[in-house]
């Protein structure tokens, strides 16, 4: 088939759409669902700006066919915050530690951080940077991003305590 009716849960909302089978999950999110927080910045899956959660696992949405995400659940940057007022600890930490400049890498960074921290990762500067090798930043030099990840780990640890 060249077109497929897919349905999935995106940020906890059910979604139904007919798509061309060659549609990348990233482009389905950005164009069909107008969730433009997820970005695209490379041609070969290296930059990570397209990172989202697929069934709870962080993936590069430019390396997943929307057709293959049929029947599954997706979480994007737009689905991180509880509400307008209550940001996810990772988002809050990025604000508190000034972990961004131009912001283009930020959604992808945040999604990767959330995944790693929710699985119990306790980073320091070096291990934070290593864990984020799949997300490229051209502005910051990564140190404040790592600081944000460390702060978020601490906040999330407190929240769970």
């Amino acid at each position: 088939m060249r077109e497929l009716d897919i349905q999935m849960s995106v940020n906890e909302r059910p979604v139904k759409q007919r798509i061309g089978v060659n549609t990348l999950l990233r482009d389905f999110l950005r164009e069909d669902l107008e969730l433009t927080g997820t970005k695209g910045a490379c041609d070969d899956g290296m930059c990570g700006s397209c990172s989202v959660h697929l069934d709870g696992e962080v993936v590069k949405s430019c390396l997943v066919l929307a057709a293959d995400a049929n029947g599954r659940s997706v979480r994007t940057i737009e689905g991180l915050a509880d509400s307008d007022d209550v940001l996810h600890p990772v988002q809050q930490a990025l604000l508190d530690e000034f972990g961004f400049q131009c912001g283009f890498c930020t959604p992808g960074m945040a999604m990767t951080m959330v995944y790693l921290l929710e699985s119990g990762f306790q980073p320091d500067q070096e291990s934070a940077r290593e864990s984020l090798v799949g997300n490229i930043c051209r502005c910051t030099g990564y140190d404040r991003i790592a600081d944000a990840m460390i702060l978020a780990a601490s906040t999330m640890g407190e929240n769970n305590a």
Binding site: L24, D44, L63, L65
Partner: protein
Amino acid sequence: MKSFDYKAPETVDETVSLLAEFGSDAKLLAGGQSLLVLMRQRLLAPGVVIALSHVADLGDIELNGSSSIGSMVRYKTLSQGAIGSALPLLARSAGSVGSVHIRNLGTVGGALAHCDPSGDVPTALMVLGAQYEALSSRGAKTYDSHDFSVGLFETQLAEDELLVRVAVPPQPEGASIGYQRFSYREGEYPMAVAACRLEWDSNGRCSAATVAVGGGDAFPKRLPGVEAGLVGFDFDSGDLESLLQDVARPDLYAAADIRGGAAWKEKVVMVTLGRALREGHALGQGRVDA
């Protein structure tokens, strides 16, 4: 990317029938971490894409002396848990690939079929003596890892064959492993990968070795010259670099590319190989914790 006919089989038999029908015009979509890049760059434009994500029975793992790993098992699963303890070399190689994103989706079957010249997992599996079970409408076939890769991104797999399972035989008692890789930046395709499995005699000398490198040729390969040369080698007193210069270097045919010239890349492979062998030695002698 160009459109295609999308098939979503649910069983191995369905998949095999589709391959029989569409053969050369079809590509199997496993993790997608390599295939989709090639399709987006318009280097590949298959008329038919057969998605494996819903096929049952390709994700099973059995560990009991020998190991059986379904071809759709993800890098992430290979790098953790029971496999991590049973086959540490496989776990380390799988855990080194790309980033967490890639490891969540990339599969062992995809890695083997794609056959990147410096693939971590194919290199490691060669050293473990793995065998690869494939299925087509013509029947089942088993490939040996040591000659499965035959060219640049080319394996012995026929166009209509589906890799179903990776079988890893029981590993020799007391053998130690070594695994090293080199890339300019973490998370990138490595320039060199080296894996080894070393067995030891009662005098602490190497009694048998399987050694493989990625990045030393158009495809990952075993180095029989090194394997033979290591028998009886005394790591404490022997000159490993000289030995490798004699028995490894002649077997390397790295291709110059954006990362460096052939000579430089071969040197990097040599150094990486030396490090892997030394690591195998240290682990074998209980000098270092695995």
